[in-house]
């Protein structure tokens, strides 16, 4: 596994929320999906993932349900709430503004 790039907490939240935007997943699946979609650059380890998941649940942006996984094991599935969706959209907009601004600065030097 490659060295994980450090992710700021707020960014991790955004990634998780985005990942859950279309379907409910359990923690393992979330980390695999992020790893895959980012072309194996981003590696979210469980030390950061699970606290983040619990925090997001505490704040009401995602909700959890116990269900059956692919191999018939019980797993905790997270899904986006409506409030979470709004928050995600807001943060997404912020992120785009921020990264565009950084890009502009980097182009100059």
């Amino acid at each position: 596994m490659g060295k994980p790039t450090d992710l700021v907490q707020g960014t991790l939240d955004l990634l998780i929320l985005k990942t859950l935007a279309n379907e409910a997943m359990h923690g393992w699946a979330i980390s695999q999906r992020i790893h895959a979609v980012s072309k194996e650059v981003l590696q979210v380890n469980q030390g950061a993932l699970y606290p983040a998941l619990h925090r997001l649940e505490q704040n009401g942006w995602i909700k959890a349900e116990w269900g059956e996984s692919e191999n018939n094991r019980k797993a905790k599935y997270y899904s986006l709430t409506r409030a979470g969706k709004k928050y995600m959209e807001k943060e997404e907009a912020n992120w785009e503004r921020l990264s565009a601004a950084i890009g502009l600065v980097l182009k100059i030097g």
Binding site: G47, G60, K74, A75, K76
Partner: protein
């Protein structure tokens, strides 16, 4: 906003379903781990390798779980509960410490709550009347300084001519009367009021009713309202009292109501009856004998009301230049009238009690510091394990708060006890417009104080904890380098010095007041009270309406008393010494042109051995003889028979005898003998004797000029109350019995009222100093005990810490006395610093008490030095046990101590 709801809901769920959540978290992480292992295996590792790699990758499971839990916590609630549980465990594990701390706090907080309850009931709660801000008390001025009761005619003019008052109500001073009902025959104190008195205040009866309009006209005014206390005491609170009849001085009155228990504006009254408001019954111009209250119209200020009455008063001065010269209106808000004097006292009481609480806090802080020093290791370990600095401080504070809240709870009990005691022992000078109880506001106050106190003394160990150096603390104890926690050390010493200083200040305050009390007690009232019994009788109108009847009765009474066994001197008098208030102006023919000027002269009339009974010295001249009484009687008879002005003017031929006191002699005839001099008071009087001064108005005021006349002078109203004076060698009960029997033998319908010994009367005339001194002395004693306990605690601790050092010294050859000196020197520094600080503090604060002190300066060397000595002695005593322990140290044990 929704986030909070979610947070709260989740937090509550976490609290309530912790186990279930733990299991869920566990299976969630386990799920992840299994998948990781599976992935490793799929990547080619063996089963055990895969597992190992996954676990390493996973990192610290516990930490992860903790992090997740942290995210879910309803943070502050759970943390707080955890702290609370921990604190409770810590406190329970050292019961001795906890008991001492809680008791100390209970005493301090309880005392504060008790005093606050008094202050709340008296000063803070609104007066229990309808719109009390519009009520005022009315007085008059005269040419002599001070405020005086009203004249009846002036009152009527004020009432009829004013523009700013909604209503006014007249009432009398308390008067005694014989009361007889079915099973009761007692003396009772009565106040007569105008019919609108209670309705003006807005006070209703608890059963029955108060006076109705028109009941203060003659014919309708034979109704009475009882006080709650009198009803309970004499009639057993029986509801059949309504519409029953009682006889006052022989006349029947119907009881129409009973006042509620909380009504205490006229605390002395047993009954109220309506006045007769007919003009001729209110006294002529010039007689000042009434009290009055008024209700101003809404929006009118006291100043406006006063200006209004002032205009009327000015008009009256022009109309009646003789009687009304210098007479003006005084309008006082009823609040000032009822409780104005109390504010100063309240401040002092509060100050004292607050000091006690501070000392208690210092004590508990010291105790906590001692304990936390012993817990330095535990704190260091927790620090090392990752408890944040803030978390530790929070935990310390939680412990302190728990202590102080429990102490506060117990303190409420202390407060209840204190209030119950005070309620019955409060002197009459401390007004009680509202009943004193530990109500809602004082309880809230207790809560606030408890929290405040908890934070206050909780800072001490918290400060110490924050400076704990983990490394240092984790080293084994007893090493040579263990210099101890410097900051904590300094803190403890400061606390002890502070305690001692505060205790000394309190002791000095109490000492000053006690000396004032002693001084007042020792003040020469001018009379010797030992062995003197006094009581009042009042003849009923139906049998003794005429002068002759009264004279015969009292003459016979005096004869019988003088012959009775056990009585060495007896007298009948119109009023007793020290209970002044009957005064007026005199005129010196040839010297004074105008009436109503000059000093007021107190007047007393008597018959019998008045001066001998009270041991008032006769300084020159002689006492009254039977001939003097005869002459006065003759004059009175003529006065009563006189119908025309000419007949009245003829009375001027009489020169009645009078005895005067030294102050009067000096005031009117300075530098000469007063014997033989003449003065005028309706008729002419010739001075036949001069006696020593008596303080007629309590101990704090200088004696007034006083003149004594033969009793016939006041027998023009034979139904007025007269006092019996009996000086004898028997017991109080014996004398009272003798007097009562003598009175009854002449007329068995008469009640003996207010039987008191003279020392009792004198003591009753200075009640507030006694009360304050007692209260302050109690506080000071409390403070002393607390300071002693505090000093003991510190010394114990100090000796304990130096046990090693002491052991070494002794092993090296130091003798026991040297050790003692060393330990005592350390104590001595603390005590001396505390005493010096206390002396300075007391000197600064004593100035505030200046108004209360009599005969002693705020900075009185005797009081200061003796109290400092007492405190030093107590502190020394407190060191005794620790010092003994130091001396008993076995060097071998001490050196091995780890």
């Amino acid at each position: 906003m929704m986030r909070w709801v979610h947070k709260l809901r989740n937090g509550l769920r976490t609290l309530l379903q912790r186990r279930a959540e733990e299991r869920e978290l566990d299976s969630e992480l386990r799920f992840h781990l299994e998948h990781q292992i599976a992935q490793n295996v799929a990547a080619g590792m063996s089963a055990s390798e895969a597992r190992r790699a996954a676990l390493i990758d996973f990192g610290g499971v516990e930490q992860l779980k903790e992090d997740c839990r942290d995210m879910r916590k309803a943070n502050w609630i759970e943390d707080f509960l955890q702290d609370l549980r921990y604190a409770a465990r810590m406190l329970a594990s050292s019961p001795g410490f906890t008991a001492v701390a809680v008791l100390t706090l209970a005493l301090g907080i309880g005392a504060n709550t008790a005093i606050f309850s008094v202050v709340d009931a008296v000063l803070l709660k609104p007066l229990p009347f309808r719109q009390p801000e519009n009520l005022v008390a009315l007085w008059e001025t005269e040419t002599a300084p001070g405020s005086f009761p009203l004249n009846g005619m002036d009152y009527l003019d004020w009432r009829n001519l004013n523009k700013t008052f909604e209503s006014m109500s007249l009432y009398s001073w308390p008067n005694s009367a014989n009361l007889s009902a079915k099973d009761v025959s007692e003396g009772a104190t009565i106040i007569r009021t105008q019919a609108n008195f209670f309705s003006q205040l807005g006070v209703r009866a608890q059963i029955g009713r108060t006076f109705a309009e028109g009941e203060d006209q003659s014919g309708g005014n034979h109704v009475a309202v009882l006080s709650d206390g009198f009803w309970k005491k004499q009639f057993g609170a029986s509801p059949t009292i309504l519409n029953s009849t009682v006889k006052l001085n022989g006349e029947p009155f119907t009881v129409i109501g009973v006042m509620p228990a909380w009504y205490r504006m006229q605390a002395l009254a047993d009954l109220w009856v309506p006045l007769d408001m007919a003009k001729d019954k209110l006294g002529p111009r010039g007689n000042h004998q009434w009290r009055a209250i008024g209700r101003v119209k809404s929006g009118v200020t006291t100043a406006q009301a006063r200006a209004d009455l002032h205009t009327i008063a000015e008009g009256l001065v022009k109309q009646y230049p003789g009687n009304n010269r210098g007479v003006d209106a005084i309008v006082k808000p009823i609040r000032d009238e009822l409780i104005g004097d109390f504010q100063n006292q309240a401040l002092i009481l509060f100050g004292a009690v607050a000091l006690v609480l501070l000392i208690a806090c210092a004590n508990v802080a010291n105790l906590l510091l001692a304990r936390s020093t012993g817990r330095r290791r535990e704190i260091a370990v927790r620090n090392a394990l990752g408890a944040g600095h803030g978390r530790l401080v929070r935990q310390m504070l939680t412990e302190s708060l728990l202590l102080s809240l429990v102490g506060g709870l117990l303190g409420v009990l202390v407060a209840y006890a204190g209030v119950t005691v005070m309620r019955s022992s409060l002197p009459a000078t401390i007004p009680q417009p509202n009943p004193i109880s530990v109500g809602v506001v004082p309880l809230l106050f207790t809560l606030v104080i408890s929290v405040f106190v908890g934070v206050l003394f909780g800072m001490a160990p918290a400060v110490q904890a924050s400076s704990a150096d983990s490394c240092e603390a984790l080293k084994p104890k007893g090493m040579a380098g263990d210099g101890g926690n410097q900051r904590g050390h300094w803190l403890r010493n400061t606390l002890v010095i502070g305690e001692i200083a505060l205790s000394l200040a309190l002791l000095i305050g109490a000492g000053l007041l006690l000396r004032t009390f002693a001084n007042l007690r020792a003040t020469d009232t001018g009379v010797r009270g030992e062995g003197v019994l006094t009581a009042t009788v009042r003849l009923p109108e139906n049998k003794y309406a005429a002068f002759e009847q009264g004279r015969i009765f009292y003459t016979q009474l005096l004869d019988k008393l003088q012959a009775a066994p056990g009585i060495q001197a007896a007298a009948i008098t119109s009023k007793l010494p020290v209970l002044g208030g009957n005064n007026g102006y005199i005129k010196i023919p040839g010297q004074q042109e105008q009436e109503m000027t000059g000093p007021l002269v107190e007047t007393t009339s008597m018959m019998g051995d008045y001066f001998r009974a009270f041991r008032i010295p006769l300084l020159s001249g002689r006492d009254f003889t039977p001939a003097d009484h005869e002459l006065t009687a003759k004059c009175i008879r003529e006065y009563l028979a006189a119908k025309t002005d000419a007949e009245r003017a003829a009375l001027k031929k009489y020169e009645l005898p009078a005895v005067i006191n030294q102050t009067m002699a000096r005031a009117f005839w300075p530098n000469q003998s007063a014997i033989g001099k003449v003065f005028e008071n309706f008729v002419l009087f010739r001075v036949i004797g001069v006696v020593g001064d008596v303080r007629q108005q309590g101990l704090r005021t200088a004696p007034l000029p006083e003149s004594y006349y033969p009793i016939e002078w006041d027998l023009t109203s034979p139904t007025a109350p007269f006092a019996i004076v009996a000086q004898g060698s028997g017991t109080r009960e014996g004398l009272t019995g003798t007097v009562r029997n003598t009175v009854r033998s002449l007329d068995d319908t008469l009640a003996l009222m207010n039987a008191r010994t003279m020392p009792q009367i004198i003591a009753d005339s200075m009640p507030d100093t006694q009360f304050e001194a007692a209260l302050l002395a109690t506080m000071a004693t409390l403070a002393l005990i607390l300071a002693a306990v505090g000093t003991y605690g510190v010394m114990s601790y100090v000796v304990g810490r130096r046990t090693n050092e002491i052991g070494i010294r002794m092993a090296l050859g130091a003798a026991r006395p040297q050790i003692t000196v060393m330990v005592l020197r350390q104590a001595g520094v603390l005590v001396v610093s505390g005493i010096l600080l206390g002396l300075l503090g007391a000197a600064a604060g004593a100035r505030l008490m200046q108004g209360l002190l009599v005969g002693v300066q705020p900075i009185d060397p005797l009081t200061y030095s003796s109290m400092a000595g007492v405190l030093a002695g107590v502190a020394l005593l407190a060191c005794f046990l620790p010092v003994r322990r130091a001396m008993r140290v076995d060097p071998m044990v001490a050196l091995r101590y780890e």
